[in-house]
């Protein structure tokens, strides 16, 4: 009897860890997106809040209308890129400030998402990408699909950032004048990076809907701060665009899961996230003060 209980406990613990990793992997795509916008092109893009919801809403609508995932997901990515294009155009053509451009697009997308999928939409056991797992009947091993998919995505973006085009993405965030000196159009690269970032976030939103089996308009609220927390944790464990982004997102999910263990009301999650960000930044500053070399 004790052995049986022990096994159930072990299984339960594994399911918690597996859930943390799976959610972490999905949110790591948003962390990658935030890295591209805020660290590479130095553009604090708030439109990711809207594009995460847009990805989720479109995924839910398309799946419930029996559109297969291999068609639905590319459509979601294109829609996300369009959200990035809108932010980019507002910023570069109408000269709106970074933050205002993002807020305008997010606000507009909130209505669009409501029209697309309503406030909630359940997938009703429609076929998701996780149904491609051949050896588990009850979708318990979603990590089998998520891990290679996210790793491949990360490696693809890492490769891209090391191409000539990727070099110009880095350059435009650091010194747009340099692009003009080279005869390139900085606007094109700012918009391109925003399209890539928002396409990734929309993809994450769609994967999240595939994962949980429903769409909720509220699931995208606070996604920016979740991604930012993941990014800040990632930057304490690693440097640059790499696997540390995955680790950061997973560690963040682990911290949130730990709060459940301590029976903290989930309504406090956003406050905990905000405090976590403040704590890490304060620790980093404190640590930097003590490690600063004399000039």
């Amino acid at each position: 009897m004790n052995l049986y209980k022990e096994k159930i406990k072990m299984l339960f613990e594994w399911l918690i860890i597996q859930g943390i990793i799976e959610r972490g992997l999905i949110f790591s795509i948003t962390v990658m997106s935030i890295y591209i916008t805020s660290r590479i092109i130095k553009f604090d893009d708030l439109s990711v809040e809207g594009s995460f919801g847009l990805g989720g809403a479109l995924a839910a609508l398309l799946l419930t209308n029996n559109i297969p995932s291999f068609i639905a997901l590319p459509l979601v990515i294109i829609a996300g890129a369009c959200a990035g294009l809108a932010t980019g155009l507002l910023h570069t053509q109408l000269k709106l400030n970074n933050l205002i451009s993002g807020i305008v697009v997010t606000t507009a997308l909130f209505s669009i998402n409501l029209k697309v999928a309503g406030s909630n939409m359940i997938l009703n056991n429609k076929s998701t990408i996780f149904d491609f797992i051949p050896f588990t009947g009850n979708n318990t091993m979603k990590i089998v699909i998520l891990l290679p998919l996210i790793c491949a995505l990360l490696l693809l973006i890492k490769w891209f950032l090391n191409t000539e085009c990727g070099f110009l993405f880095t350059a435009v965030g650091d010194n747009p004048q340099m692009l003009t000196n080279l005869g390139k159009n900085p606007t094109l690269y700012i918009i391109g990076a925003l399209m890539l970032g928002n396409a990734l976030t929309a993809f994450a939103g769609a994967l999240f809907v595939h994962y949980v089996g429903y769409f909720s308009i509220w699931s995208s609220v606070g996604i920016l701060i979740i991604a930012l927390a993941g990014l800040i944790i990632a930057e304490t464990v690693g440097y640059g665009f790499g696997f540390s982004l995955l680790v950061g997102a997973i560690l963040y999910q682990a911290i949130i899961a730990a709060t459940f263990e301590f029976n903290v009301d989930p309504e406090w999650n956003k406050l905990i996230t905000a405090l976590l960000i403040i704590l890490i930044i304060a620790c980093k500053k404190h640590f930097a003060l003590f490690t600063k070399r004399p000039s």
Binding site: F160, N162, T163, E164, C165, G166, F167, L168, T170, A171, D174, N175, Q177, M178, T180, N181, L182, G183, K184, N185
Partner: protein, 249 residues
Amino acid sequence: MIKFDNVSITIDNKQILKNISCTINNGDFIVIVGPNGAGKTTFFDMISGKQMPTSGSIFLDGIDITHLNEQHRAPLISRLFQNPQLNGIASMTVAQNLALSTYKGHTVSLLNGMEKFPTHITAQLDKLNLGSTKTLNTPMKDLSGGQRQLLAFIMATITPPRLFMLDEPTAALDPQSATKLLQFAIKFINEHTMTTLLITHDPELALVIGKKIWVLEDGHIIKQLDSREDTNLSAADLIGHIDYQKLME
């Protein structure tokens, strides 16, 4: 040959450049001097296409380029700014910056960013102590101001420009670094007979290096001097007499 025909620039209702007419011939090395606010940097901005003339025309070898924007003029013109931050990508390594500078005038692709690294300049880099593997892998932000300007000079000349503009390139440097940069730059420019414009506040420097010296004041080119014809030129001819004794009164 670049010809300016009655060019003016007005910014916020203030006329910065006033009816400028002049010619830059191929192979010229022109030093531009003048007080702050004379319009020297605006003159460079106009040539690079950053500022469009309010009136007048600019011709390059007889072709009207007045309305060609900065991006389209870039393959013809290189510019070294006085602020080292503007001359490269701080977060990228020296090697990456050098590779980046070869993209000028070419369409970028999905090839590896380092594919076009200019291997032909390694000897030049070695001479300036910038060629070691350690330095090549150092982010540009970790170089000294002098090293950054030297590197920026090499980057600006990797693809030889039709016109090279140096906007007070030594303003942010200590005297030793400034001398090293100028020695290297002048030798390189003379060897390649590169058409060059240089802005400086230092009249002595202008007299030493400038074959032609233009004095800009209040939006006009008030003097066009040739140091080879007029060997008796002095600093006072360029910037007027400054009486430092008055400081002590």
